[in-house]
Amino acid sequence: MALVERETLALPSGASPGVAIEPLGVLARPHTKTGWRSWVSTVDHKKIGIMYGAAALMFFIVGGLEAMLIRIQLAQPNGTVLSADVYNQVYTMHGVTMVFLVIMPMAAAFANYLLPLQIGARDVAFPRLNALSFWMFLGGGLFFNTAWFVGGGGADCGWFCYAPNSGVVFSPTHGVDFYAVGLQIAGAASLIGAVNLIVTVLNMRAPGMTLFRMPVFTWMQLVVQFLLLFSLPVITVALFLLTFDRSFGANFFNISQGADPLLWQHLFWIFGHPEVYILILPSFGIVSEIIPTMSRKPIYGYPFMVFSGIAIGFMGWGVWAHHMFASGIGPISVAAFSLSTMFIAVPTGVKILNWMATMWGGKITFNTPMLFSAGLVAMFTIGGLSGVTHSVAPADTQQTDTYYIVAHFHYVLFGGALLGLFAGMYFWWPKAFGLMLNDRLGKVHFWLMLVGFNLTFGPMHILGLQGMSRRIQTYQPSDGFTFWNRVATFGVFWIATGMLVFLYNIYSSWSSWKKAGRPNPGADPWDARSLEWSIPSPTPEHNFDVVPEIHAQDDFWHRKYGEDEKGRAVRIAATEDVVQKGDATDVHLPSPSFYPLILASALPIIGYGVIFNRLIAIPGAVLFLFGLYGWAFEPATEPDDHAGDGGHGAHGGGDHDGAALAAPSTEEAHVG
């Protein structure tokens, strides 16, 4: 029909039609601030942070159910719940989900929400790239999980997917293809996020916010983003090689052609060991915020805290081969990596001592965030100590691929990273949503988690030293593993109950707040120290009315408290007087955009094309180009979106971000 030429109706130029003509539908610039459209088109770092958290929680439930399946299978000898094949898939999907789709995005949620607030910025450096990161992560994660339905089963090669187990011969279904492509997409998302957040921290700090006045959380996240920036390309290479092998017949891991399977191990762990710190450092940052607040003391040894974080970041590059002591890398390599691994325990130890010293002599309030933080310090110490035993190569040779390793990294990742992330959720929930989570339920949640966690993973130390292999589908009654496996399975139900309590807590806190009209917790419910508490809860869309001038580390605290002659803190100003009101108008903000979502949705389509049929990739590629270039040709901020702003007050040095984001490119003047 479009081929039929006919004359158009003339609407005299300049005469404005009675109704807005928007023939572009979804392609028109989104303007809504509420409803689902505002979420899918948002470029607001706070909304993106919340979406990261929600998605990670969803994947946590998926991964948790997979974990329960594993434990139920192992509850008794000769378990028959899962076949050996399905068991392989379940533990692989559990591991990948928990590492890449739960802990990393959960940490990214906090980074997105808090970094701009803690440095006094209006948004991140590239708001649309930020949205792209999220949608790509979500797309990659969902894509990876569709392997269950369309790939002939999930990946079954273990979360580090060693060659040649990952090869076509040993894993003929498409599960590993989904692993390679899904992680590639999620990895690219993290890389974009890393560039974005580093630029944000380096470039967009409020005036006076020097690097060494930044909160420890911001510092730890900065280190994490640098680790991501430099480690992700390595796994990108490895995953490309794997995809080329499996889909295009390359020979990178084809041993019969002389390929070396250790290449995968090296590439994976060059990425994988920094990854370990990528997982744990955000939680270190979170508890470094909570412990001083709840102990009512500044963090002990701030420079040590920061430098130990940086040291971990650098040393994390030189220890990867301790994951490979048992794979025959030669005595000199083993000795060198053994030594470097022992050394990296030092900065971690510094951190633990500093937290203890911060609590020492403080007026500690044991509410839920503090309980979780203290739980992290204790549990991570156990995990760290069992980690040091791995650095001793002879011992490690015995522990490799036993449940001792499983116990160790769950103490580090669950007892460390995850408890820290829960602490952060309870701590910053009022800031994000304007309501407190119930503290009593929170404590129940904590104790259920802590007890269940130790019941589940504590016995694994013993099982491992008894010789029970990890990833083994079942065991015999005569092996003597029965009792401790029962205990572990018993414990996992405690954890599940704890999670149910947490979910109920979210629901009940929200509904009682809705019904009873519980008061807003106010800008600063914890009497805290960093900048995000100086603005109302929930955070207004423009973050800061006036970009603050920073004069000291913990600047917000020093506005509230001075010191008497004995050095004790005395209040010098009421909190209500020093917090901002959140009522600023005419602030430049970046306009929402659909293009990040369009661009991100093209990648899974291309992924399916690579795996199943190249023809599917063509529409994906066209969509990709359309998303990319539509984005590039779309101004970051619509000229109309901040029309009529005159002499806005926030003209501090920190306002540059607003200016950068809102650069009104008049030549891009946009019609329609």
Partner: protein
């Protein structure tokens, strides 16, 4: 309300449907002897055409399909016209918020896509006679021309303001056009010139490579050094360069690649796995696709 345009398309659709049924029936061969008393048998003979092939058969499938497709297309277009009240000036005026529909306006911009589409059809015709590659190239060109033409036609009457229309078109089409154009320029040059390198002897390829690059470089220096260069001169130069590159590519492709020294035929047969026969583990499938194919094959055998 059924609009004027819709009536036409509905009528056309109905006629095509009747034609399809008749054609489907008659092309299967009609036994006229059935008419006098065996109407029941006649019904069965027509059943295939009447049920559109659901029960029974039709004669010539291609013709039946074309006619039926035409009927479906016409009906769809008619429905669209009803849905969007096309060619009805009252709703147009309503949407525009004007008391009466504005007067007609001639399309002022030129449309090159008709010409390009015709050229594409010609390429396909040539391709049918010579080589399958031309058919593919022509089909791609035709698809591009159709898409661009459709967009052009749509955007030209999207709002009624020529400037707004142009920006609408650009907003949708530029994101695809610009990168594809860049890629096509790169691919065009790379593929054409590499044909030349493949044709000439090895040493000449190196010197030609150096020569072409130097030519580009020197031309750029000359253009940049000149105080003024008329636009027409630059454009002419680009057109000549494009034709030259195309000529080089075609000449190279026609002449075909030079002889390549093949180390050992046994290992170079593509697609059969070649050196993989040397595998320690015997013949090992190396891609997932190969495995799926293999397993699918064995399943069939099992049946």
């Amino acid at each position: 309300m059924i609009t004027t345009g819709a009536k036409f398309y509905f009528g056309l659709g109905f006629l095509l449907l009747v034609a399809a049924v008749l054609y489907g029936w008659t092309s299967g061969g009609v036994d006229w002897g059935l008419f006098p008393g065996h109407l029941g048998d006649l019904y069965f003979e027509m059943l295939g055409a009447l049920t559109l092939g659901y029960k029974g058969a039709v004669g010539d499938h291609l013709g039946f399909g074309v006619l039926l497709g035409g009927a479906a297309a016409s009906t769809t277009i008619g429905s669209f016209m009803v849905a969007f009240r096309d060619a009805d000036d009252k709703p147009l005026a309503e949407v525009a918020g004007l008391p009466t529909a504005p007067p007609l306006q001639l399309v002022s911009s030129s449309n090159v896509w008709a010409t390009i589409g015709a050229f594409a059809v010609a390429v396909i015709a040539v391709g049918i006679a010579t080589s399958g590659w031309f058919v593919i190239a022509g089909a791609v060109l035709l698809a591009i021309a159709t898409l661009e033409w459709a967009m052009y036609a749509w955007a030209d009457r999207a709002t009624g303001d020529a400037a707004v229309n142009a920006s609408l078109r650009n907003k949708i089409m530029n994101p695809i056009e610009v990168p594809l154009f860049g890629a096509i320029v790169a691919a065009f040059i790379a593929l054409s010139i590499s044909r030349l390198f493949l044709t000439v002897p090895k040493v000449s390829a190196t010197w030609l490579f150096l020569g072409i690059a130097t030519l580009i470089f020197v031309t750029a220096i000359a253009l940049a050094a000149a105080p003024r260069v008329p636009k027409a001169a630059t454009r002419g130069l680009l057109v000549i360069a494009a034709i030259a590159v195309l000529a080089i590519g075609i000449a190279g492709a026609v002449a075909g690649p030079r002889e390549f020294h093949n180390e050992d035929e046994e290992f170079t047969v593509e697609g059969t796995g070649g050196p993989k026969d040397l595998y320690v583990y015997g013949q090992v499938p190396t891609t997932t696709a190969a495995v799926q194919e293999k397993s699918g094959h064995s399943e069939k055998k099992g049946e």
